[in-house]
């Protein structure tokens, strides 16, 4: 490193956060050795032209993210994030344990609520959650699974400790970026994957398909699975179509489905076909106008009743949001002990519940040094970082907290770990988080090795969500099969993911017309309108 040759690493130096590639003495950490030397062999110009090649290959795939209503490319950084096998051996079981806890909690919430009678969680907390859906009380999923897919967000703090930041068990998105990132990166660094033993990710779709098949209603041997999308105008449509294609199942919209005799069917050119499992990417409120929003045409009337009768499986289950509420988050360590009899493997971030008077007073005193978050938000929406907020913003936050203490939590500012990232001024440390994806098939919770690493592209920016204008990195988990010498396995770009290259234009010829006139004529009827004495 001390040679006089200038490399992309010249001048790279970690700031006060934990840098995952380099320690404070400038020594490269073990997992990054190979990546370091690969980049070290290049000139700065080489690296930039590689980044450009990556960007254009990535753009060609059509990967974008909806930011403030505008489709933007979701930049993929040229430097991968590397996670050592020993770290992953803690993270993966930690995520799996988390998912098992969330499953147990949801089964309890929509069943007999022992956690309330045993005094673990206040009843008020469940009853006041806007995501506690009473309409699915007593709906028992076929193989007991409600959290078929989850995205458990992790951060690594300044002491290198991995912590859970939030759980996403409603309709977690982002896995398509993981698949696309890998495809693009394996073209950039064809030799490194085998040589480093990077664990593959592209089996995700087959894992998901198999988990969905296992969740099918009882007695259905060869289930028909569909992916239900709100349509082409949804910001995650790319992901919906990608998953449907790579699983080899139909991509449908609400208008393609109908319920008949308490069963769900899809309309096909060959007539009605029974649907057994719906991997839905439509929010709860829009799934069934009989139960929820009467004006929604994105789901199908009667779907909830079909699920109640065990005639169809909805994945993820309706009502999961009660478990990823940020107030429930504060009870998760207790819930792990209560349901599993285990100590939590991954700690959470210390959190104040603002409903509690003492906590509230302390937080209001220290607003300028804490992070305040809405309990039902995701994607960094509504988050106020005290150290960066203006006086007016802090005052507005104080008012909001006092008006609705149930609606807010506070946490200390966490210095998220950094990873070298290519910027206009060369490689610099940038803050990252990680969303690993887990699939629960009822027997096992499988954690996709890696996950979506989101990177805050602006210097010092701590919110890394894609919805806040961040970018992403390919996440390499080590510990897979290593290949040395001439035996090079096919890079992942060549495997499985046929047809990923672009957003399909021909999924539904009528897509465009349909979007404009989506609302079928529906009317909620209410006999009580004129009744009553």
């Amino acid at each position: 490193m001390s040679d006089d040759r200038s490399t992309p690493w010249s001048g790279y130096s970690p700031a006060q956060a934990w840098d995952e590639a380099m320690d404070v003495h400038g020594d490269v950490r073990e997992p990054y050795q190979r990546v370091y030397s690969e980049i070290d062999r290049m000139s700065g110009d080489d690296l930039y032209s590689k980044a450009e090649a990556l960007a254009s290959s990535y753009l060609a795939q059509g990967v974008t993210f909806d930011h403030a209503g505008e489709e933007r490319p979701f930049p993929l950084d040229i430097v991968p994030r590397v996670v050592g096998a020993d770290e992953w051996d803690v993270i993966a079981p930690g995520i799996a344990q988390r998912v098992r806890t969330l499953e147990a909690f949801l089964a309890d919430v929509y069943g007999s609520q022992h956690c309330v009678t045993d005094g673990v969680v206040p009843r008020r907390l469940i009853a006041s959650s806007q995501y506690f859906y009473r309409a699915v009380h007593g709906v028992d999923p076929a193989n007991g699974v409600r959290v078929h897919v989850s995205g458990i967000d992790l951060v690594r703090d300044q002491h290198s400790i991995w912590r859970v930041l939030e759980d996403n068990v409603r309709v977690p998105s982002g896995v398509s970026y993981v698949l696309s990132n890998r495809r693009a990166m394996s073209q950039m660094y064809p030799d490194m994957f085998g040589a480093m033993g990077v664990r593959p990710v592209l089996e995700y779709s087959q894992r998901l398909r198999s988990a969905l098949a296992k969740a099918a209603p009882e007695g259905v041997d060869d289930p028909t699975i569909v992916v239900l999308t709100p349509g082409v105008f949804n910001s995650a449509y790319y992901e919906h179509s990608l998953l449907a294609r790579t699983m080899g199942v139909q991509l449908v919209e609400g208008r393609d489905l109908e319920t008949l005799n308490g069963r769900v069917y899809m309309r096909t050119t060959a007539g009605r076909r029974r649907v057994d499992v719906i991997y839905r990417r439509v929010d709860d409120d829009y799934l069934d106008p009989v139960q929820f929003r009467p004006d929604s045409a994105l789901g199908a009337p009667g779907i909830v009743q079909a699920a109640r009768l065990g005639n169809v499986t909805i994945a993820n289950a309706i009502g999961n949001g009660v478990a990823d509420d940020k107030l429930i988050y504060t009870y998760m360590p207790d819930l792990t002990r209560y349901y599993l009899g285990e100590e939590p493997i991954l700690p959470i971030v210390d959190t104040w519940r603002l409903e509690e008077k003492e906590a509230r007073e302390e937080v209001l005193d220290r607003l300028n040094e804490l992070v305040v978050k809405p309990v039902d938000g995701s994607g960094g929406k509504g988050v106020v970082i005290g150290t960066k907020a203006s006086k007016e913003e802090l005052e507005a936050t104080r008012k909001q907290i006092l008006e609705d203490p149930r609606g807010w939590i506070a946490q200390p500012v966490i210095q998220l770990s950094t990873v070298p990232t290519l910027t206009e001024t060369g490689l610099e440390p940038r803050h990252v988080d990680l969303r690993p994806f887990a699939i629960n098939d009822g027997d096992d919770v499988w954690v996709l090795p890696g996950g979506l690493t989101r990177v805050a592209l602006q210097k010092g920016q701590l919110i890394v969500n894609s919805s806040q204008g961040g970018g992403s990195k390919d996440t390499w988990v080590l510990g897979g099969v290593r290949h040395r010498g001439t035996v090079v396995p096919p890079p992942e770009s060549k495997v499985e993911l046929e047809g990923v290259a672009s957003v399909p234009q021909d999924a539904h010829p009528e897509d465009w017309a349909h979007g404009q006139q989506q609302q079928q004529q529906q009317q909620q009827r209410d006999a009580g309108e004129v009744s009553g004495s």
Partner: protein, 278 residues
């Protein structure tokens, strides 16, 4: 004790032929210590498929589909129910007990106001004043008495979706409004309160066998150690003339008929007939 036969008939007519409709009917009286359901059925014409389930609020629901062309839909709920008069309860609880953390948590669903039940400032002030002077039961009673005096019962004055505040400003409403207003005021002072959907035999001294026009009715129950039913519309205790179908936080939790129909409803006719048979 009385035995009541209730027939609740609803007929929808449509502007054009409807080919699909999905609905839920909450017309089946609940099995309770105070009432035995001797017989109950829900008839739907036309209907292509139906099923039943018990919902979160423990109300029996008939879910049904009509997937054939039809220009009208008739739903008739018929029940025979034996209702016992309520026994006066001995055990009462004080303000301290009700407002303690245990009951406040267990009964939290019946303590939070919604946009429908939220009381006006004036109503809230009345409730606070009563609570400052009286026991929980007497506070509840005085709220209901006041509402009965102040709000005129005017059929059609409001719809089931009218927030309580509107009825208060208009000084008129129907039984749902009286119930929502009472619930809002009770919850405001920390008394758990719930909405009851059911039927009332309107004649106090009904002849056996005489069929009278009744109504789908609503009243309240408040919790002061036990649930206590009271009918603010008629300003009287719930008697063996009241039949309970379901209970919830507000009307929205126990609507008699809801559904989604692809088309326009042009006519709606609701008739409730009550007969005391014993």
């Amino acid at each position: 004790m009385s035995t009541l036969r209730i027939e609740h008939r609803t007929r929808f007519t449509y502007g054009s032929e409807i080919v699909s409709s999905y609905n839920e009917a909450r017309l089946t009286p609940a099995w309770l210590p105070r009432q035995r359901v001797l017989d109950s059925k829900v008839e739907i014409e036309p209907s292509t498929w139906r099923t039943t389930y018990r919902d979160y609020w423990e109300t029996d629901v008939v879910a049904f589909e009509v997937l054939q062309p039809h220009a009208a839909l008739t739903v008739v709920g018929t029940s025979i129910v034996e209702v016992s008069p309520l026994r006066a309860r001995e055990e009462r609880v004080s303000w301290g007990d009700i407002q303690g953390p245990r009951f406040q948590d267990l009964l939290c669903e019946y303590l939070g106001n919604t946009p429908t039940t939220e009381p006006t400032e004036e109503l809230a002030a009345f409730a606070e004043d009563a609570a400052g002077r009286l026991s929980p039961d007497l506070t509840a009673r005085s709220i209901c008495d006041m509402l009965h005096e102040r709000i005129a019962y005017v059929p059609g004055a409001t719809s089931v979706h009218t927030p309580a505040t509107d009825a208060w400003e208009k000084k008129s409403g129907v039984c749902q409004d009286l119930a929502h207003l009472a619930i809002g005021a009770l919850r405001h002072v920390g008394i758990p309160a719930r909405y009851v959907s059911g039927y009332l035999h309107p004649k106090r001294d009904a002849e056996i066998g005489e069929s009278v026009a009744g109504e789908s009715h609503a009243w309240v129950e408040w919790w002061t150690g036990d649930w206590h039913g009271f009918d603010p519309t008629n300003d009287r205790e719930v008697s063996d003339h009241h039949v309970i179908v379901g209970r919830g936080r507000e009307y929205r939790d126990v609507p008699p008929l809801t559904g989604v129909v692809a088309g326009e409803t042009t006519g709606l006719d609701v008739r409730v007939t009550v007969t005391q048979t014993a």
